[in-house]
Symmetry: C2
């Protein structure tokens, strides 16, 4: 579910006068998404998405995110284009939050990832990296490797209830990952959360990428590693190398991976698994049982992490 | 939130071949609604709603509900029209559920009810009653007065945790309500759940009524009593007689209320408050703390119930 902030019709009507997008036709909450409140907004001019940014998003980051989306859309990438109001602003207050209207993208996100999805996904990721290359502002990744040890510390106490010795296990794995973390790989703007529910397909092709609110300036290859975690494991946590090979083939058709990037894939994939494991663990430990949020099992990523640790090298990913 | 059943793109694509509504454009879960899973479905032909009926809906009732909606839409009422497939069927299996596609209605439901909403609401309720009069099949109201004592019994044990003596209090009130329940009032098809989130407004007028899955054949005036509970209390549970007067005025402009119906309003309003109190109490007592469902406070309706019990007569509602 993803409607945390209710918008009254009066507040919405007042908000819409700031924009030049026609008259209201319909307004419905969207179930997808976890971080922010999203509404499908239909006006006499067409379909839009209204997003109210919730507490996990730092308002100071919003101009960077929206600027990136505008930049990428301007480079022909199919991503939500923030709509500017009559005064040129694309962020405005609404119901106690900061809110933005973006264009509506067609397509359906794949509930079950098939091999056929992975090559287009890889290609879209590379195109995103290339299209973002000349977006000048940078944003440090506040969920990058430096954040992981403090995050683990915050959930260490509560983690034993999930699996005995989990915090100690993770601390040891984290030390190894951090020590091996590559420092000299190509850097640029990455999506950093390109899970299947953020990728729309239509007629077998990618019709849109959404949800840029974890985007940051970090290693390009780390974004690939996130996708390997998000797209290439089966429901039983077995790794599907046909999917990863397709994903990497799609990527490399648009952007060449250096030997150093290829060599770093296993540790980057470990790091990516660690990052999602830790944020899920944090949520698990800190979400009160009655809360209206799906707590995702952190151990799903523990299993992925163990696969990546056991990987003998980049050949494990089909290279 | 209201997406309990995930639909894979393959299942959706196969399902859509049963209909003649164009090619897929987009598919998003809708946050509103509690009982069923709802998706906004956009095709090359337009916008639709896809509903998967969840466990609280008896599949045997679905043809009655959809028949009523089709009947009402045929009489010019703005309600979802079930779309018939190529074979003439409007119910088909999807992802382990029974599902239906209905037309999309414009409008926005009022997050905050204003006096201006109440007269059109009353008028729409009366028009619904009149338009349904020649729909021949009947459906007994399985949440009618006969159901309340058994429902109370099922939650008696757990209810003391909410308020000491609650079950005993309610049993006494219920006995009084049941003894005074009117038997000879006009009967027809009622919506039975016409809360603000089931009523869309556009430019100050009602643009659609939705969610007919509690509809039943019962006292027309009981449907009014449900609306008095749902639309005329303020957030502090004070009763706004200006709203109820507007609601009744709107209703009576289209359908005359008999003296007996008017005289019965207080007891019908007590019964309506009891009905929502009891289903909320049942959910409260039976919902595990970690569940992904908003538990609505049953005591909200205890306060409404006490107002109706204290009502000196129909004049309390502005008549």
């Amino acid at each position: 579910m993803a409607v945390y902030t209710e918008v009254t019709d009066e507040a919405l009507a007042a908000f819409l006068t700031l924009y030049n997008i026609g008259g209201m036709v319909a307004f419905r909450g969207i179930a997808e998404g976890v971080e922010n409140s999203n509404y499908a907004l239909k006006t006499t001019e067409g379909d839009f998405i209204l997003t109210l940014y919730e507490k996990r998003v730092d308002p100071a980051d919003l101009p960077w995110f929206l600027g990136l989306m505008e930049h990428l859309a301007g480079r022909g990438l199919s991503c939500p284009l923030p709509v500017r109001g009559r005064d040129g602003q694309n962020l405005n207050p609404l119901s106690g939050r900061i809110a933005a209207i973006t264009t509506f993208l067609p397509g359906v996100w794949p509930r079950r990832v098939l091999v056929e999805h992975c090559e287009p996904l890889g290609a879209a990721l590379a195109r995103l990296h290339l299209a973002g290359a000349d977006y000048a502002p940078i944003r440090a990744n506040n969920l990058g490797p430096e954040s992981w040890a403090p995050l683990l510390q915050k959930c260490a106490a509560g983690s034993a209830q999930i699996q005995a010795g989990l915090a100690e296990d993770l601390a040891a794995m984290l030390a190894t990952i951090t020590a091996a973390w590559p420092r000299d790989l190509p850097v640029g703007h990455i999506h950093a959360d390109l899970f299947p529910d953020n990728v729309f397909f239509l007629n077998g092709e990618i019709s849109g990428l959404i949800d840029f609110y974890f985007a940051a300036t970090d290693l390009y290859a780390y974004d690939i590693a996130i996708c390997l975690n998000a797209w290439c494991f089966e429901r039983d946590f077995s790794f599907n190398v046909t999917k990863s090979r397709a994903l990497l083939r799609g990527y490399m058709a648009h952007r060449t991976l250096s030997p150093a990037e290829i060599a770093a894939l296993p540790v980057l994939a470990q790091g990516a698994a660690m990052r999602f494991l830790l944020t899920r663990l944090y949520d698990w430990v800190n979400t009160p049982p009655g809360a209206l949020v799906t707590r995702k099992d952190p151990l799903d990523y523990y299993r992925r992490l163990r696969f990546h640790i056991s990987a003998s090298g980049s050949s494990a990913y089909g290279l």
